[in-house]
Each structure stands twice: as C-alpha cells, then as structure tokens.
C-alpha cells in the first residue's frame, strides 16, 4: 500500500527518530530466547527451526549465530597479523627512471613523500587509509574477540559501535593497492621510467582482504549474548 504514510503512535519499541539515542540495559527479548531464527539474507523470522533448515522465503541456510564465528575470525585475524609485517617492511613499488638511481617505496615512505612535497591533505588521507585503518581494524577485532570470549559485560554499546565502524571503514584500505596498480599501468614508458610493483603490495592486499573477511565472519550478536541469563542461574 503506497498510500499508507501514518506511523501508529503506539508504544512500540521500534523507534523512527534518528535523534533518539539508544539506551543500553533496556529489557529486550532476543530472538534466540524466543526460539526464533532470523534469516541472514531476507530477515524473515522463523519459529521451530531444526538444524540444516533453509529459509522458506529466500532459501538461505538458517543459523542461530554465524557458524563457528569465533574460530574463523581468530584464524583470519592471525593470518592478517602475520601479513601485516611484510606489508609494512617490503617495498610496495619500485620506480626505475631512465637516468639515475632506482627508488623503492614502502607504505610509510609514500606517505612521508606526500607530506614533504607539501600535499599534506593527501598525506593525511593516505596515512588514514593505509596505516591507521588496518591497525585500528586489527586492534578492534582482537579486542572484540577477547571480550566476547571473556564474557565481558562492560561497554556493550561501545563495542557494538566499534564493530559497525570497522565493518564500514575496512574497505578503504584498498586505496594503496589501486594507486600502485595505476602507477604500474601508466608508467611503462621506455626511455623515461618504469614502475614495478613490489612484494609489499601483495602482502598489503592480503591484510585488507583478510581483515574484511574477519569482520564479516564475526557475529556482533555474540557481544550481546552475555546479557542473557546463563543456564544455571534463575531467570
């Protein structure tokens, strides 16, 4: 019904005002406690779901929580941490001019070059995208994993927001990969200069992909699961 524009002024918990801040500790019932499972793709809620059931509307597999979320996220995170070292040490790009010495660039030296040449705005963008964001992502995902495994009840809302932030900004680290791709594609002029990609860029691309996969495989609902009453305690 496209003509239906009214919002029912009932005391329903779903809020339509963006300005109203969410309140933590509000008594809410979770789907898990009600014995329902939400479809990860079309968000339909289902009752009485058995193992290996599929969503009756879109056919996606139904799980109470993302399967094996913590183990998968740990594996991807550790792999990303390992790749982070060569990504920052190895050169990402080698410039060979027709005359003169060849020049090797790492991620950091590229940023310093921008800063020294006066384009500090660009230096800040690249510094944020290729240095701060990956480091922030690794730190936040580690923090989320440790706090979930330790059943921490502190700062639930802050952690939920950090997860959302990481999921949004993670993709922007790909910036340096694209810059190296373009430089390689453009500067292949015999008699002027050539640019070769270095091993560092492959490691850096791996860090970006692995951390993106890690944040996708982490289930933010696990943060909130500690607020449920534990099985041994009275409800």
């Amino acid at each position: 019904m496209p003509g239906n524009r009214t919002v029912q002024p009932t005391s329903q918990p779903s809020q339509s005002l963006e300005s109203e801040l969410p309140v933590t500790g509000l008594p809410v019932k979770t789907a898990a406690r009600l014995g329902m499972v939400a479809c990860p793709h079309c968000a339909t809620l289902w009752e009485h779901v058995k193992a290996r059931d599929r969503c009756g509307r879109c056919g996606a597999e139904l799980h109470m929580r993302k399967p094996d979320s913590l183990n998968r996220t740990w594996a991807l995170l550790i792999a990303a941490c390992i790749m982070y070292v060569p990504a920052n040490i190895l050169p990402v790009m080698t410039t060979v001019p027709f005359l003169g010495k060849e020049q090797q660039d790492t991620i950091m030296s590229g940023i310093i070059y921008f800063w020294n040449s006066g384009s500090w705005a660009l230096a800040l963008i690249v510094f944020t995208a290729s240095f701060l964001v990956p480091l922030f992502k690794l730190a936040v995902v580690t923090l989320l994993l440790i706090s979930v495994q330790g059943h921490s009840k502190r700062r639930l809302l802050l952690r939920a927001r950090l997860y959302r932030l990481v999921a949004v900004i993670g993709r922007w680290s790909m910036l340096d990969v694209f810059v190296v791709t373009l430089m390689t594609g453009l500067i292949q002029i015999q008699g002027f200069a050539t640019v070769h990609p270095g091993a560092g860029i492959a490691a850096f691309a791996a860090v970006v992909v692995l951390t993106m996969l890690a944040s996708i495989s982490f289930d933010p609902r696990l943060i909130w699961d500690v607020t449920e009453h534990e099985p041994g305690k009275p409800a």
Partner: protein, 210 residues
C-alpha cells in the same frame, strides 16, 4: 518451521521488535544497539532502475576510454585504461593482486549492476518470477558482493596517483575518470536498494493471486 511475519529481529544484537508501518523515508533503529532495523525505501524504488541503467552506460565508458594520460617532458605519451593497468600488473607477476583489482573494480560492479537490472525488470516490472532458485541466488549475490565493489575507493586511488605523477610529468584526466566518478555516485545511489523488499513484494503478489 513456521514464519513469524509481524516481528523483526535486529541483525546486530538479536533484539526482537514488533514491525510497525513506516512513513515516507523513515528509518527504524534498534533501541538497544542503534543498528538499522528497517528503512522505508518506497521513494527511491522507482529511481533505482534508471540509475542502474545509467550506471551501466558509465561503466562502459569508464572501461573503454583511458583514465589518465601522461606526457613526459621528452614528449613521450602514455595512457592507462582500467583493464590495461590490471594487465600490466599481471605481466609483472602479481597475478593475485591483479585478480583482486579486476574483481573489485571491473567484475563485481558489472555483476552487481546486471543482477540489479535483472531483479528490477523481470520480477518487479513484468511480474515474471521464473525460476525461484535463480531469483534467490541473484538477490543473495547482490548482498554478498556489496562490500567488495570498490569503485569509489578506486576513484580516490586515481586522485592520489594523479597528484603523485604531477611531479614527474604532465598528467591529464581522461574521459573515463569522469565516467568513473559518475559511476561511483550512481552505485552509491543504487545500493540504497535492498533486495529484501523484493521478497516482500513477491509475497504480496502471491497473496493477491490467490
């Protein structure tokens, strides 16, 4: 297994709410974690198909014409297209990185646009749902690929490379650069479309037919 149609669960904290009808462009937020529950997209829905077609046109221009033109002091000229850059990365032995760039800037945007146009024409315009498996897979594909379409990041990369090169030689922006910018904007607008609403409209259609 039974469907619970009048309830909705927050995707990020699992809190359950009663669905309430949303007004024009209203957003329902979870009051525990602040994540978005539902968003009214009736206003955008009629705009998505033309935007997706426009995006496809821009996509073709962005891939055919050169992105940047470089003129060195000696008068040597070099042009870089999207595909050419990926190819030279591949010849330098960076097969996996080349594939990653190919996927995020060339393959995935194309798949995304084609899948959207398919979903918006056959099931919505012509009321022809056809094979439900193909329909479901297309809807899911759009959602899975969404974080991996990186045209806007690529655009920023072009700008950074542009500034980097100005110290070495004269750089001119090509036609594809503008098309790339337009494509980034169009994709962002198109992504406001959520394939979920198709499932809802499909159900409404089925009910009407009964």
């Amino acid at each position: 297994m039974r469907e619970v149609p009048d309830l909705i669960a927050c995707e990020e904290c699992d809190a359950v709410y009663r669905r309430s009808p949303l007004g024009r462009s209203e957003i329902a937020l979870c009051c525990r974690c602040g994540a978005e529950l539902e968003r009214d997209r009736r206003a955008q829905r009629s705009r998505v198909l033309p935007l997706a077609v426009a995006g496809l046109c821009m996509y073709i221009i962005a891939n055919v014409f050169p992105l940047l033109e470089l003129e060195s002091r000696g008068g040597l000229v070099s042009q870089a297209t999207l595909m050419g850059s990926v190819h030279s990365l591949n010849t330098e032995g960076m097969l996996l990185v080349a594939f990653l760039v190919l996927a995020t800037t060339i393959l995935f945007p194309l798949i995304q646009l084609l899948a959207l146009i398919y979903l918006l024409t056959f099931p919505i315009r012509f009321r022809r749902f056809g094979n439900p498996t193909a329909f479901n897979l297309t809807g899911r594909l759009i959602q899975i690929l969404r974080p991996w379409v990186m045209v806007e990041i690529f655009l920023l990369g072009v700008i950074v490379a542009f500034v980097k090169l100005t110290s070495m030689a004269t750089v001119l922006p090509g036609v594809a650069l503008w098309a790339c910018g337009a494509l980034a904007f169009l994709l962002t607008a198109v992504f406001s479309f959520n394939p979920r609403c198709i499932y809802i409209s499909r159900r409404a259609y089925k009910k009407k037919g009964e």
